[in-house]
Amino acid sequence: MRFLVLTTLLAAAGAARAQPSEGAPVERVEGAAASEPPPSSEPEADSDAVDEGWEDEGPGLSASARVDAPPASANVLDATAAGTEANARDAAAADVSTPELLLSLPGVDVRQTGAAGAGAFVALRGAAPNQTTVLLGDLPLSSPDTGAFDLALLAGTAFDRVEVYRGGAPAWLGSGAIGGVVRFLPPEAVGRRLQARLGMGSFGRWHLGVGSEVGGPRLSVATNLEVDGATNDFPFADDGGTAFDPSDDSEGRRVNAHTRGAFGLVHVQSELPRGGQLDAVVHGASRTGGDPGPAQLTAEATRRTDVRLGGTAAYSHRFAHGRLQLAAGGNVFEQRVSDPLQEIGLERNANRDRFADATFRAAGSADLTPWLELTAVGATRTHRYEPDNQLGIDPPSSTRHTLTGTSELRAHGRAGPARAVHLELRGSARVEHQRTHAAGLRLGRTIREDSNDTRPTIRLAGAVAPRPWISFVGSVATGARFPSFLELFGNQSSIVANVGLGPEQSRAADVGLVVKGRTSGLRGLLEARYFDLRVRDIVLAAPTSQQTVRFENSEDARSRGLELGGQATWGTHIVLRGAMTYLRTRGERGVELNWRPRLQSHAHAEVHSRALGRRVHDLVAFTTVLHRGAYFNDRANLVRIAGRTWLALGCRVDLALSGDGSRLSLLATARDVLDRRGQDFLGFPLPGRRYAGELRYRWDW
């Protein structure tokens, strides 16, 4: 606690000391506040630096007050971090989903349990999905107690963009996650715009979205509302559950997989006098429908409803040589599962579990010297879990108090002949303390159990840019995941408590390069990294007897690999994007970790006609190929899921409706054209060939 307060105060004091003179340069891009816009997220954003180079500031580390342009980077927050961003704005494909968006990035895997609206979980660099932190802006959406974050609750098109940091995340985010951080950034109003989307597709799929942006000098508001649904009655190959007997094989259809979802988001930004900014985001999401369970057992009566409401408010102040952010936020999340006929569980159940959390965060950064910056982030978070099983014993209700403090020193400057080499070095230390408490009623007595733990994590990272268009980057970091309520305290029935559980801990390292620039009509970004992630004390369920399990710190694992990502625009007509992750994993006794394909790759190519006459603003044709290599479904490496390649084709026509800035786009997309289908989790088939059409309307006024 003392550490946290001290570093936060120190950073704030440093920032205040460096109160700016008017007109001081503020073109720094790293460490943007809760939803501060980066200079640009487009690949061409830094192209001027490529073309123009950087100013010579004399020998040795720079002592100039001028803020250097950053080394070539794939993200705007930290040039040393393995961070890449994606966005669904102006996508050529119809009905783009959040998993699709994330699968286009290197080092990212998304595992899905079915079609649109079904559970989907993101995993980074071979880490498990519950080892990834999901943020909205700078505040967390995910919780250690809700398990892996279900992406089905978020509409990817409702956000401005999503950033994915693999391995050690930037200190500003205050996360010590083992796998990394997925950060959704809300839309920002830069002008006045109304937009709407209406789409339909195979298997009863439909979606409707409306959004608005009103940006003014003092106040800007952006809103997005998305509703969607699907029957998801897609066909799948049913082996009858009898691997040796093909006589009962047939083509079945998914039942009880229907879904309806809604997602709404309001983002308000207000510029205050003297450099302050208020920033508020409110979001709500719900998804309801059937839960079909594994396809060999057809659940027809099981229903599931998830409802989430959250909000954040942040005040940030920029100084000439620093900034300060105070933010608060919270989420309430209710998960209802009704399984009256014992179709997907061991028991009939009617659960209504409620999760709530509140976070307060103070963060600041200050230039202690022209070449040394201090960043400090302190946060406290409180979680509450209230389970309710209307047909059985309630697991204990629990609370968790988390206190984290992060402090980072960033040294940056120039070196070498003509001081052409840009250097950046970051070192951060983070301490997380968790106090977890459970209370449940047992035979008329209140049973209380506690678990306390404190874990430090660190990150050291550096970037060397010998030329403006290339950076060599590397980092080492440690991480931790604290056990969830359920893992610690059980559920008084099938899960036995183990309050002695410790956190999973990791050591990660990566090294690579980022190339970013423009030359003769070609603009592009390419990143390549080798990474190595070692995780120990992985929490796994160990069977005891009579259908009970107990979570234990059981295994160690290692994931190594190579990730490549890139995007390029050739002239105005060709856009290429690609990502590839090659992964080698090793678990206990030399086996591979399950659900980790050795190779995953994504390639996307678009051809644009650009303006064709007065009406046709653009005509786009595209193809996307996603390949997922073979992998094991189990930790014993007995069941191997074959690799598969999905091909998508589509087109988009942008029509200028009139001279008032309105535009209508017509989109048609065919996914899994070769009807490969497949399954990420054995028993949970994925849809095959399917079609989607969409109308987009946009009016800039």
Partner: protein
């Protein structure tokens, strides 16, 4: 970087992105580069040619004549079956596992697999229990006989055991009961359901054991208040045939494991194979949770019924559990009547909470496991109990809790007990009334836990 180099670099990246490694080598038993596991044919591969007798091709390698004990290892939703010879040495390391056939919607085996307590000579009968509800039969020559699922489409009825009668009829016990009260009779569970052992199709025969359900007084586990009329289901478990009678162990546990706790008096169902009549035989001494039945070694008439106990105050609650733990030897007359030969009750001598993974050592003597306690940090114990005298002695101790699982013993052979903490099967040679521990043996994939051993 020149324009040409830039283009080349991007082209290479895009080309890589479109490539695949569908058959990339991996490190498991499914690896194309690895030799086939002992005894198992490579994935989905059928040997060329017909059997010498013109019968169907084997899908698995033939078991050696020395194969005496089937060993099931499992974990993480998968399982593997290997075989030991009579002395406990490995005869076949992996004969079949979850990845023997390339997975389609389901794997070859699930993760909750047992061998049937009794199976006709020359055959292997595997039960894939909760979630799969599948019986798979092979000859020991590796020829596939048949596969059948015995559950409605939407609910797992949790198969427990199967028996094949000399007249060619088969019956499988279903532990679960369909919560849908309007389900068709064959979809209800809490029964023995008949099947054709050759085709693994249901025959329509059904012995409804839900007649042994009852309403019992219990306790609300949250408030501690007494609750009346708790639904206790028959919960049929293992089956042993004695002459024309099937002895079926009954768990008699509540319909809900997360609701009020209650149990029924310990009992077995006696099913006449002729008329398929079922009668209830209640065991003495207030025992509970008695779904394990096993043949008495060397006897054609007697069975051991092992009762693991059940406390209304909670799983593992010592006092209440001890009052209901016991082991009973029954003799089944040719008429189908049962009588108690001997019994041991934990409560009478403040004895251990044994009754788990019991096996017959012959006559009145059994080996059984008393599980350790996480909180008290006591370890599992393998006990020798003489039902006639009540003498209890410790054969061995496991290094942890819930680590000693179902073993096997045949006359003249070693006592074989899987030890999860060691990742091996411990071997004990009889020496007078005690045992001498020999070298342990490992079998199956090292990533799985050895769960049970059963004599062929």
């Amino acid at each position: 970087m020149t324009e040409r180099k830039t283009l080349l670099f991007l082209a290479l990246a895009m080309a890589l992105a479109g490539c695949g490694d569908d058959d990339g080598s991996t490190t498991g038993v499914m690896d194309a580069g690895d030799p086939p596991t002992d005894g198992a044919m490579p994935d989905g591969e059928m040997p060329d040619g017909e059997m010498p007798d013109g019968g169907p091709d084997p899908v698995l390698a033939a078991l050696p004549d020395t194969a005496t004990f089937g060993v099931v290892s499992s974990g993480d939703g998968v399982a593997s079956v290997g075989f030991l010879d009579a002395s406990g040495d490995v005869a076949v390391d992996v004969w079949i596992d979850s990845g023997t056939m390339p997975p389609e919607l389901t794997a070859t085996l699930g993760g909750d697999v047992v061998l049937a307590t009794e199976t006709p000579e020359g055959t292997v009968t595997l039960l894939d229990r909760f979630g799969a509800d599948l019986i798979t039969r092979f000859t020991t020559g590796g020829v596939f006989i048949g596969q059948g699922r015995f559950t409605p489409e939407s609910v797992s009825l949790n198969l427990q055991d199967a028996v094949i009668l000399p007249d060619g009829r088969g019956f499988v016990s279903r532990f679960g009961q369909n919560p849908d009260g309007g389900a068709a009779a064959e979809d209800r569970g809490s029964d023995l359901i008949g099947f054709d052992p050759a085709t693994l199709e249901t025959t329509g025969e059904r012995i409804d054991l839900s007649v042994f359900n009852l309403q019992s007084d219990g306790i609300d586990p949250e408030t501690g208040d007494p609750v009346s009329d708790v639904n206790v289901l028959a919960r049929p478990g293992r089956i042993v045939r004695r002459g024309d009678t099937l002895v079926v162990g009954l768990g008699r546990l509540p319909a809900s494991f997360t609701g009020p706790r209650a149990s029924g008096p310990g009992a077995v169902a006696l099913v006449a194979t002729g008329g398929l009549d079922a009668t209830l035989f209640e065991l003495p001494g207030g025992l509970a949770n008695c779904d394990q039945v096993l043949p008495v070694l060397g006897s054609a008439t007697d069975v051991i019924v092992s009762c693991k106990g059940y406390s209304n105050l909670g799983f593992g609650e010592e006092t209440g559990t001890r009052e209901t733990v016991g082991i009973v030897r029954l003799s089944i007359a040719a008429s189908g009547e049962a009588s108690v030969v001997s019994s041991w009750e934990a409560a009478t001598a403040d004895g251990p909470l044994a009754g788990w993974n019991t096996l017959s050592l012959g006559g009145d003597v059994v080996a059984t496991v008393a599980f350790g306690d996480f909180v008290a940090e006591t370890d599992d114990e393998l006990l020798r109990i003489d039902l006639s005298t009540g003498d209890v002695s410790v054969i061995a101790t496991g290094a942890g809790q819930f680590v000693l699982s179902q073993g096997a013993f045949t006359e003249g052979g070693p006592l074989l007990v899987p030890d999860g903490a060691m990742g091996a099967i411990r071997r004990f040679t009889p020496a007078g009334e005690g045992f001498t521990e020999e070298t342990a043996v490992t079998i199956g994939p090292p990533t799985l836990t050895i769960r049970s051993i059963a004599a062929l």
